[in-house]
Amino acid sequence: MTNIFNLYQYLLAGFTSPVYIGTTAKALFLALPLIAVISIVYKAIKVEEIKFASFLRESILLFGSIVAFMIVTAIVIFVIMKAVIG
């Protein structure tokens, strides 16, 4: 019983204090799970019929497109920044 209570408190504590996220380039990887969710939900309402293989392929394609577009945007912004600021 005590173990269950401890586990409950442990789980609850996980949602009452924020985790540490440093202001580093690695923090950008936190965008990936969100992009995955956006791709999956968008494809879930778009595809005519849900079949595992085709749904997975469509979702991965959308995920890849979003990530690729974000990388291109980052490169363009970086180039503009370098050209303007030096």
Binding site: G14, P18, V37, V41, A44, I45
Partner: protein, 136 residues
Amino acid sequence: MREYTAGKFGLRGTAYLFLVGIAAWWIPGAGHWIIGQPKRAAIIFFSIAFAFVLGIWLGSIAVIDAKTPWYWAQMLNSPAVAYLAHLSGSVYHLDSFGKPREIGEIYTSIAGMLNLLCVVNAVYTAHCINIKERNQ
């Protein structure tokens, strides 16, 4: 695919659409489940729940703050978010700052806006099913 229509529920068309919309808002995916699309419903439920839980784990439930504009987007997840706002603000008096809060707010708000997309899609699909039933 078996479709559940207003007629099968014994409801008028508008009441059925209202039921689908409210269910989809209260529990992500429930709207699609009502209209007979359980696979879609499960995908929507687990994806939106994952994004929301990850958001409140990263930034704590303090990211649900009724005083910020983010709250309106977060409320689109489910009305249960209001209870979490009450817990974080009035019961535990929690607060979070900086990057974790920012990322938590983005995750929970985008999860809410994705649920709005699903609510609209569920209601529209239910409307199309109703029209198909009426025409038969």
